[in-house]
Symmetry: C2
Subunit: 112 residues, 2 copies
DNA sequence: AATCGCTATATTTGTAAGGACATAACGAAA
DNA sequence: TTTCGTTATGTCCTTACAAATATAGCGATT
């Protein structure tokens, strides 16, 4: 079996993490479920952790990434802003490009 | 202040980690000091951790990465093989290329 | 055979991250 | 004004991981 190259990328703003793979997963789950509680359950992480992640995202982003509402019909909910949606798409795109780039670079090591 | 993109890459062999940034640091320190004990001290990690890392590296690599000697003049020591040296160089090269690539990709997010 | 500095491990101790749990606050709707 | 399901937060408790410590073993040199 040959070598494999793997990577993890993340985006920071003012030395705070804005987006990483886990955070993007969370945003996608919010987009699908419309609720932070349901998103946490679908990812099998605690609500507290999910809330901490989302709070950190919104604090470090330049524009709001989600809009959270407390109370009201259904008890409230969370949804992505347009900015949030485009961040998710852009992150996925960069990540995939990175994988392709690295697979190509790995050839340098295979023939040593 | 704008966004920054960061990354961490590593190479696996048979689902075991072969090389990552920490492991490459360790190999470089071994190369400079000629001893695992001194390398651990220079990186301010415990000898145990350094030894576990090196053991894991040598177990997952196709060819030996270091040659370790016990006892004898000076009590022993550790040094990189030619293969080990070229792995370090190749990893650094790929890592730097990855940074450049990602910085360029980040532009997609800056103008959202 | 005694010494020395190193590699090679096991065992114990400490610590920080995460999970479980509890609870407050909220606003629409009935 | 009561109910409901959610967001928002604090507190405790556990548990996985890292550090510290201890010790065995090695072989050239003296």
């Amino acid at each position: 079996m040959g070598y494999k190259i793997k990577s993890r990328i993340w985006i920071e703003a003012d030395d705070n993490v804005l987006l990483g793979e886990g955070r993007v997963h969370l945003l996608k789950a919010i987009q699908e479920t419309g609720s932070l509680t349901k998103a946490a359950k679908s990812l099998k992480i605690s609500y507290k952790k999910a809330w901490q992640l989302l709070d950190s995202i919104n604090k470090s982003a330049k524009k709001p990434v989600t809009i959270n509402s407390i109370g009201g019909k259904g008890g409230g909910g969370a949804e992505l802003t347009e900015y949030g949606k485009s961040l998710v798409v852009a992150f996925d795109d960069i990540n995939k490009n990175c994988w392709r780039f690295l697979d190509q670079q790995l050839e340098k090591i295979k023939n040593l």
